[in-house]
Symmetry: D2
Subunit: 418 residues, 4 copies
């Protein structure tokens, strides 16, 4: 059993090893290939991974490469965690929209849009390489924006992709912690898109929540929104803050000295310094400051469900194919699925809460235009994508901001004529 990690120079790679170590019997991995186009980071991270694996007594063969053609042959699962343009490009994603009074965030709004434009061509290159070198392999993606990326790969390649996000399990975690019950006993319907989902019809051991239990969970999710959640009849993704509290969040973001990307850049310097230390053979303290982990749990959960042919309930970004009749069949949605060796299939969900359908449709409209813009390199389609985005939506903003965004990302937008 061979796993290839693409974007292995990421600071998150050791977390995958740690998780794998705890699942040795379930996932008898013999080979791990680390691939990255950034050779320096790759060397640092692979060096540390070797020491870390040895320290844990995890017996696997490591290989390192900067080429897909070397990395992929023989692979069963391709974990992808790339960041085109790195955190440097992310600074633009966050700052440029903010300068127009809009949400500046790496997955939502105009920032997420630019990340999509940079990422999709790279993801399609990977997907086509998978088709060529290991067509039976699953791409296990947690590169953001994961829903949009999954839609692009599903539309423009034949590679199999599981579009993952830890956020699909938020409803499970809030319920488990809010009610002090076992997370495995929680199920729900999940409607919507990545970072725009709503958990509803929640059950614990098959029992629907009482009104009081729902209140408790809603409060656990965040005091500020508890009343709204109760009225909505659903638990929204935390990223809904950028919609439901837009002005407030924009103001807060504008008031911060450093944007998130700048913070991360600073933390990562420390992390890589630690990883590079030949004496360092366990996870350094610095990585805790990085945040954003937890993906490896979902990723390896999906891999195990497929590899071991377990029928497992997992939330994944998959093509809609009729699950919600009011969204296009080829729209990727984030929803509860049954995962086993035969694939990943959405489970029939109940009617969605009455106030969320419109927003989901609006953002999906944007997402489909974002995919088209990324693939065609059409500035016109990019304009329409932003015009359709509920967080932009004004022609003056589109005309003012898009040229700046495109200019700042010029080097990663090869298929645009700029």
């Amino acid at each position: 059993m061979k796993i290839t990690i693409i974007g292995a120079g990421s600071s998150y790679t050791p977390e995958v090893l740690e998780r794998l170590n705890g699942m040795r019997e379930e996932l008898p991995v013999t080979d791990i290939t680390l691939m990255d186009i950034n050779e320096e980071r790759l060397n640092i991270v692979s060096g540390f991974c070797g020491r870390y694996a040895k320290h844990m007594g995890l017996n696997v063969n490591f290989a390192c490469t900067t080429k897909l053609s070397e990395a992929l042959p023989g692979t069963d699962f391709v974990i992808v965690q790339i960041r085109v343009g790195g955190n440097a490009a992310r600074i633009n994603d966050e700052k440029i929209p903010l300068s127009f009074g809009l949400v500046g965030q790496e997955t939502t709004g105009a920032g997420g849009f630019m990340k999509a434009l940079r990422t999709i061509p790279a993801m399609l290159e990977i997907a086509h390489a998978v088709e060529e070198y290991c067509p039976d392999a699953w791409i296990i993606n947690y590169t953001n924006p994961t829903g949009i990326v999954a839609e692009a790969v599903n539309k423009y390649s034949n590679a199999k992709i599981a579009g993952l996000c830890a956020g699909g399990f938020n409803g499970r975690n809030w319920t488990a912690m809010g009610l002090n019950v076992d997370a495995d006993s929680v199920r729900y319907d999940l409607a919507g898109l990545n970072h725009l989902n709503f958990a509803y019809n929640i059950t614990v051991k098959g029992k629907p929540l009482t009104e009081e239990q729902f209140r408790t969970i809603a409060a656990y999710r965040g005091e500020q929104d508890a009343e709204m959640c109760i009225k909505l009849g659903a638990l929204p993704s935390p990223y809904l803050q950028y919609y439901y509290h837009k002005s407030k969040r924009v103001k807060e973001l504008q008031e911060k000295e450093m944007c998130r990307a700048e913070e991360v850049l600073s933390v990562e310097k420390e992390v890589y310094r630690d990883y590079a230390d030949p004496a360092c053979e366990t996870k350094p303290a610095s990585i805790e400051k990085r945040g954003g982990g937890g993906y490896s749990e979902i990723a390896l959960g999906v891999i195990s469900a497929i590899y071991n042919d377990k029928d497992t309930w997992i939330t994944v970004n998959v093509p809609n194919r009729g699950t919600f009749s009011w969204l296009p069949d080829d729209a990727v949605i984030e929803t509860a699925c049954m995962v086993n060796a035969s694939g990943i299939r959405p489970i029939n969900a109940g009617p969605v809460p009455k106030a969320v359908r419109g927003l989901i449709c609006a953002v999906k409209n944007y997402e489909q235009l974002a995919v088209e813009a990324a693939v065609t390199g059409s500035v016109e389609t990019a304009e329409l994508a932003l015009l359709a985005h509920p967080l932009v939506g004004e022609w003056e903003l589109v005309k003012g901001m898009l040229p700046k965004l495109l200019e700042a990302n010029r080097q990663w937008l090869k298929n645009f004529k700029l």
Copy 2:
């Protein structure tokens, strides 16, 4: 053939007579009943109508009443043009949202929402009276928000309603004037909702427009938006300015000394003074300043198509029933219909322009909640309606603004517990 006009005290009523006069052979009306709950205005307008009809040589029997039970029996067509709360209430619709930095407008956004809450109970009362007193009659409605009103009447009564708006013919008029062709030779698909529609697939005498012709029309519609229209591949309703140029429009509205309702109130004073003058027997000059006319052309066009059983292409607000598969079957849409004696039926439309579907879904989500809130009197549903509205959408705005709006409209919201 009997026509009853409800809300006949409106300054627009004489326009109906004028139009009828020009269609004597097509529409042999013998009886017109004018009904209004405002007796003073009713007397002024009916007085003028009598003189005006006589002046034109239009030979019909006039009756006047303040009661539905007296007005409706024997009626073939019920023209409804009411304004619950009058232009006084409209001032709140325009000013309160604006004070929160939001679009203040009588049909769009939070203002239109309040108009819907005030209007729907009154419209349902009329619809139920029609069911009782003249069940075969058609309600010809141009009370705003006409799409939402039509949805409420379709859902909660068995009365037949044609939800009209002159705006559905904008595409026809722009094309005819922009290209200097006969308006009757223009056809198109119309996707969307009242005041949120998009004309596309435009043809003149069956020929699709050339790119240059489309540019010409787009420019005729408004220089400012021509480029956007070309990229959208559609001509949006002028009301889309409140979305696509939101910030700019809000700023302009905030800078105006008088809001539109205040202007109208001032003009109307003059109009009614003129109508009341016993010497006045033709349309006074003051009515030209009123603006917003043109409805009677559509209204009597629909009446003629039904009465004369002509197969006529007219844009109407009707239940979707599968016309656009991504909208609920019971959602009222504004679209091109075939109208004849057997009713009003949407015509199959081509795929919508790629950047408009999401916005239409989002606003329809709001509209359906608005209808529910109006009928149930639920503050909670009202909150969700505004949260779902793309022009509001933030929880802080909902919580801050809704109580003020409800308070200002308390006297017209009998089914709310306030």
Copy 3:
């Protein structure tokens, strides 16, 4: 204005002239080109047409050709009325199924299937020639099976096609004659496919029929079925006899000495002898025996609605595109449409009578396989088509009958490897 008639050697061609003569002002045709691959018949019919037109004082230029490339340039409307294999091939369509105890009929069942296999390649050749020589022209088709042919042309070419059948107006005619009202005052919803349609929600001057009126019409349609129609809540096409009275009809067909094709062959001999007579300049008595006319009324009605840009209610075979949500979008259905210069569009229909949906779905499943079989020349798909056909449906029948049918049609099935 130029009309080209393909299959002009048909005995029906003079009927088109006769109708055109009555519509001189509405349809100012200047040129008629008669095209047929059967030169002998073409000469006979064109000779007669010349004399007939002169006799009527119809002033048009006639041309004659056996080539599409000569016939099509400059054409506005292409009337197609071909019969691949002629009535000789039709004898097989009728007799072979009957020998297996199945309906033997030229449009329904296995016979209609063979006609589809023979006809579709020829129709696609015509459609591609239209794309090349007169891309703006409309194909006005009444070659059977017209629904299946229209589906093939819509799927595999860009030519515009109106798939016509006089049968779509049956409901109108029965109502008009049964109730002694003007045919133009009748409207209804029409659900289903060519020769498998159901008229319902019938109105006269917009008024729904009373129960008694419906009984009267049902009885007028045919005493035998009146009770069934009343229970169905619809008037089925007369061709439904092959389903609802299958055994009885098969027995009757088996008991006839001559099949319909043989009768027609015999009558046509007489007709052509008369047409060929240089003294014959008006429709000969023999043509009355031919039967099956009436198409030219519909055909020229559609041509006039398009040419004169009238909004006209006509039943046509058109792509479903969501009209009935339970049929594929690309399925051609026979339904009420609005026809004008901009094209032919289905009108939104009400919910179908509760007992007809399944049969329509089943036959449409067959029809889509028939189109695929004709285009691909796949015997396997042909087997599935017959297996899916409600009038065949048994594997033993498919395996026994299909080889005989293919063998008998070998010369017209060039794309099958037989």
Copy 4:
């Protein structure tokens, strides 16, 4: 944990005990209540069950009753296996249609229709009692026609019902046995209805079958149909023989001396004699001759998946709710589901094989009319149901056969006015 068995006088009841005995740890049942309205059979079977349980060392409390009000309180799972009218009524189901040259069979065709009319009122009585006495309990039904019964219960009650049939696992068993692989490693999409389903997209351990493997399985399913299965691209339920080999099967049924119901009656005499023997404490040899077992495996598999909150892949009859967009939302379908404590939900299936959709639609149309006829007692709807049934479909047959069927079942059709 309490299980109630309704129709416990059935000869199948001991099989449930046997299976339960093998699942002691998984299903810690403490109480079993046996309920039947036939007291004699109930006593015989409960007597044997007591001895059998003792013999196996299965420690549960048994109770016996003829009343729902006594049986249901406190129940977790209600296993229903009733046969209204018994095998005596079944004789009519088989013989009357056969006398008209139609399939005579207890679940398919006109026979199944009569069983539905007899059974649905009794099932609704049970469902309403469940609502009253144990609203959280699941009805685990294997009373035939199980799909139609499940649709009636879902439409007309709030009770939770799992409509089961061993036939949904046929595809799994054929694959496992044909390829000699573990049944648990097999998954597929299942399209269609009870006794009218098609297994496709079959995988073993997630790997799609090779063409050769599919041939092997198709041959294992039945040599006669292997070629047809390969062309269909699916494995049909064995009950499809009544469609795809209709004439042949009818002939075989007509040639048999005893019908199936008569054979069963004869075997059952022997079985009950054995059960009644106080010395008999293990399953007697006679029960092997009965056939038709295997249900308890599915039934207890579903109970375990719900009780133990396992995410399990099981084929169940459930409301469609968008799973197949071309079937009504409220149509019950037989399809692959995820079953756990929160309920039973269809899993998104791939596009169906191209030649099966029509037949499924046609039979579902019949089924929905059958449910309506059973609930309303309308002879007219019963006529339409048979007219819509692909195995009847002719008006002469409907008018000839239905009165005979209704007359023979008069005593069980209380809501029909006969």
